[in-house]
């Protein structure tokens, strides 16, 4: 999607979680799916919604709002699951709604102020402003915990 030659270009998928605007590098996004009922995993961390069937494979789905310590919204049909790929592993992120795809350059990114007491900020890689709205760019590696394979 990005134009050849302009390596600084960055495309972000923006979405809403608990009425806040977040975004992810679109290169890590594999697909966007409508909400389907998840099968809860016993004894899982509370931000794990469970697993769903993604064309025959088991896809773990994380409630992004709970992961970011935001008030969790009632799930409804308009919720979507963003399927992201990180280090070869697919994970679903449950968000309220997907808004837009925006193209920016690296220069548009601002380093977030260091407010370490804010648990959200540790997962926010950068901030950017689009149409006067602040968009948080998530650091996917901080959001998605390492797989158990690596621990073992």
């Amino acid at each position: 999607m990005s134009d050849q030659g302009q390596t600084n270009d960055l495309e972000l998928l923006t979405f809403r979680v608990a009425d806040q605007e977040y975004s992810l590098d679109i290169m890590s996004v594999r697909e966007i799916r409508g909400w389907t009922r998840t099968t809860p995993m016993p004894h899982a961390p509370d931000f794990m919604r469970g697993v769903i069937n993604l064309r025959g494979t088991v896809l773990p789905v994380m409630d992004l709002a709970r992961r970011l310590n935001l008030p969790s919204q009632e799930t409804n049909d308009r919720n979507v699951i963003i399927v992201v790929k990180l280090q070869g592993t697919l994970t679903g992120l449950l968000v309220d709604a997907v808004s837009d795809i925006v193209a920016i350059t690296e220069d548009d990114l601002q380093v977030p102020p260091d407010i370490s007491s804010d648990p959200q900020l540790s997962v926010v890689r950068a901030l950017t402003v689009i149409d006067d709205r602040m968009i948080r760019v998530l650091d996917l590696r901080a959001v998605v915990p390492a797989t158990s394979d690596e621990a073992a």
Binding site: H43, V51, A152
Partner: protein, 719 residues
């Protein structure tokens, strides 16, 4: 496999596959020899395995492998010829050498650095077995320097006793049909010494009468060699019965009279002698530029693998299939099963009569699906033998490292297990075997003092039991030192100091992360990975591991694994609004709880009375955290399950949906391993249902500290 378009790479790949088989045969043969077999066939098998590896390696220019295999083969040949009887020390060396051959094969395959130092060390020891004949071997080794003169230069120095042979060699028609090439044989003969080859073409008919596929030529070779007649005959081993072969030998005192020039002449003669018939010979003999390679290159036996195949009787016809294709088939069958489940669900919902054609057809469909599935699974199944053979090497190395005498006994090598399971079992099993040798067995002096045999025994057993594969690692060592284990666990803060544990519970402490029994860090174990890693890997295969130990008698680790990683006969049940699947083979019966059936053992622990016996009762919904404990369980439906260790348990569920085959989908990619959950499956409606491992759940909850163990496991998994 990525180089599939390169035909050479393909041949190379199939050579390495063949090597694996040969190495297996080699190990088997050595084991038989070690067990006291002394029939000529066994040593022949061993010899041929090394010989064929060498032959193939020569064709691919794998010098290091050829060099080692050649001298190994020479020693084995001594045994074969009956000139040497291997004692236990030399048998050990043979095993080491076999291990090294397999290392070399792997190094060559992966293009990894060749462990030259080990080669040299082993070669020195192998040569030592030969005693006086070492020098002769050195001369042979010089064959590999690409100098045409090497042979003739070396010969006078050694001044060996030369034998003269007159060899008459007349191929018959079959020799070409089996892909043998007279030129190679002649070249190999020349490798033994100085040969003068004459070609007798008197039988050659006129061109118009010439049948293109018939051999007409006869060779008469005068060979001067240090080799014995048997060695000369060996060259013709693979064409035995396919040619007229007469070898007459005379001893000759005429030894040192071999001038370099003569050698070259000989070579030219050979090439010409070969080249002449090539023009009419039906098989295309690759013409070699004269003099670029020494005629003494015994290793130029590229045709050997083929000729071996031709010579070996076709015992079983086998097709080699790319594993990926099988994987694909397995996946497709999995999809088929899911599809069939969906279909049967929609037919059910359509309200068709059970005797309608559609329902009958569906039943037939189900049966076929199951048959297909079983057949596909059988393709993937492999005997555990290859795995066990690798373990015998581990035992050899481990026992040498800790200087203990250890005997490995294997049982049930033919037990078939899914290929993936075999591959993923190698690491945990290696670890357990090392543990058994290092920690399990006592040192020889102590064993003798305790009235045991000097050599310790480690037994590796595989068997099919109630729909699962059981693998046991048993040692006849001192057993687990429970005091010591408890002491360590307390000192490491894994359990509170005042805790009272049963023997079984103490044994299970070994599986705790962070526990390592090694009182001193040895070369073998104590690398910071412990039995917890073993347990995790077994669990990731859907298996369980248990331990039992008797002081002074030994320790036994039992691994229980599902037969297949793909499909399971399951009972689909409802618990707290969720659909769960239990393996059908653990379910003994279903009951409905009466008001008086449940007895409280202590707060939070209940038993249910089943036919006079008491069985612990668990509420699945509570155990999985789906709901809180209910006030009364009366009226609930209970599944009575039986585990491999013979224990029973009753599980409270809300309802039974169905019994059906489910396709197992691994949860490897999830973030953590949920205790008690073996895998997941996809139901007919596309929803995911979790497959429970009842033994795991109960093991976690059955003992009061289980929850902690499970928690720490999860912590590890989450990190």
């Amino acid at each position: 496999m990525s180089e599939q378009n390169d035909p050479m790479a393909e041949i190379r790949a199939s050579f390495f596959i063949e090597c694996e088989e040969l190495l297996e045969a080699l190990q088997d043969g050595l084991q038989e020899l070690d067990d006291g077999a002394d029939d000529p066939e066994t040593i022949n098998v061993v010899f041929r395995a090394v010989h064929s590896i060498k032959g193939g390696a020569g064709a691919f220019g794998l010098e290091a492998l050829v060099r080692f295999a050649h001298r190994y083969e020479t020693v084995l040949d001594e045994v074969r010829a009956g000139r040497m009887t291997p004692d236990s020390d030399s048998m050990k060396l043979f095993f080491l050498a076999a291990d090294h051959v397999s290392d070399l094969v792997r190094a060559c395959r992966d293009e990894a650095p060749i462990p030259e130092a080990t080669s040299d060390e082993l070669l020195v020891r192998l040569d030592a077995l030969l005693g006086d004949e070492v020098e002769e071997e050195e001369a042979d080794a010089a064959d590999f320097t690409p100098l045409g003169f090497s042979m003739s230069l070396d010969l006078p120095e050694i001044e060996p006793e030369l034998n003269s042979f007159e060899i008459r060699f007349k191929p018959e028609q079959e020799i070409f049909a089996t892909g043998n090439e007279p030129a190679t044989l002649l070249r190999n003969l020349c490798g033994l010494g100085t040969a003068t080859v004459r070609c007798n073409t008197s039988d050659l008919p006129d061109l118009e009468d010439l049948a293109p596929e018939a051999p007409y030529i006869e060779w008469i070779i005068s060979l001067q060699t240090e080799a014995a007649e048997a060695e000369v005959r060996d060259i013709f081993e693979f064409v035995d019965g396919l040619c007229v072969l007469e070898i007459t030998g005379t001893k000759s005192g005429d030894d040192g009279d071999v001038a370099p020039t003569e050698s070259i002449e000989t070579e030219v003669e050979v090439e010409q002698a070969i080249a002449a018939p090539t023009a009419i010979a039906p098989v295309s003999v690759p013409k070699k530029p004269q003099g670029t390679k020494p005629a003494s290159d015994t290793e130029d036996s590229g045709a050997d693998p083929e000729s071996k195949k031709a010579a070996a009787p076709a015992a079983k016809s086998v097709v080699r299939v790319d594993l990926e294709r099988i994987e694909r088939l397995v996946n497709l069958v999995g999809e088929l099963v899911i599809n069939q489940a969906m279909l049967s669900q929609s037919l059910d919902e359509a309200g068709l009569s059970p005797h309608s054609d559609a329902m009958n057809g569906l039943e037939e469909f189900q049966r076929l699906t199951r048959d297909i599935q079983d057949s596909v699974m059988m393709i993937r199944a492999q005997p555990v033998k290859s795995l066990f053979q690798r373990m015998s090497r581990i035992v050899r190395e481990a026992s040498a490292a800790v200087e203990k005498e250890v005997r490995l006994v294997t049982e049930g090598e033919g037990t078939e297990v899914d290929k993936t399971v075999i591959e993923r079992l190698a690491d945990p099993l290696t670890h357990m075997i090392r543990n058994a040798v290092d920690h399990g067995l006592e040192i020889s002096e102590k064993r003798l003092a305790n009235g045991k045999s000097r050599a310790g025994t480690v037994t590796l057993m595989a068997a099919h039991r109630s729909g699962r594969v059981i693998i046991e690692v048993t040692d006849d060592g001192a057993g687990i030192n429970r005091e010591r284990v408890l002491e360590i666990a307390v000192s490491k803060g894994l359990v509170p100091p005042d805790v009272q544990l049963t023997d079984g519970e103490i044994d299970n402490l070994l599986f705790l992360p962070g526990f390592s029994t090694a009182s001193q860090v040895s070369a073998l174990s104590g690398r910071g990975v412990g039995m917890d890693v073993v347990k995790t890997s077994i669990q990731s295969l859907g298996g369980r591991i248990s331990i039992s130990s008797e002081a002074g008698k030994g320790t036994k680790f039992s691994i229980s694994l599902p037969l297949t990683l793909a499909v399971l006969d399951g009972m689909v049940v409802n618990v707290a609004g969720e659909t769960l699947v239990l393996p059908l083979n653990v379910v003994v019966e279903t009951l409905s709880l009466g008001p008086d059936d449940v007895q409280m053992l202590r707060p939070g622990a209940y038993v249910v009375k089943v036919r006079g016996g008491f069985v612990p009762l668990y509420d699945l919904g509570v155990m999985l955290g789906y709901r809180a404990q209910r006030k009364t369980d009366a009226g609930a439906i209970v599944l009575l399950i039986s585990l491999e260790d013979g224990s029973r348990a009753a599980l409270i569920i809300d309802g039974i949906q169905d019994q059906r085959q489910v396709v197992i989908k691994g949860l490897d990619d999830s973030f953590y391993r949920a205790p008690g959950i073996a895998a997941a499956t996809i139901l007919g409606d596309g929803q995911i249902a979790l497959i429970l491992d009842p033994a795991d759940i109960i093991a976690g909850l059955g003992n009061p500290r289980g929850a902690d163990i499970m928690l720490s496991e999860r912590k590890i998994a989450n990190e």
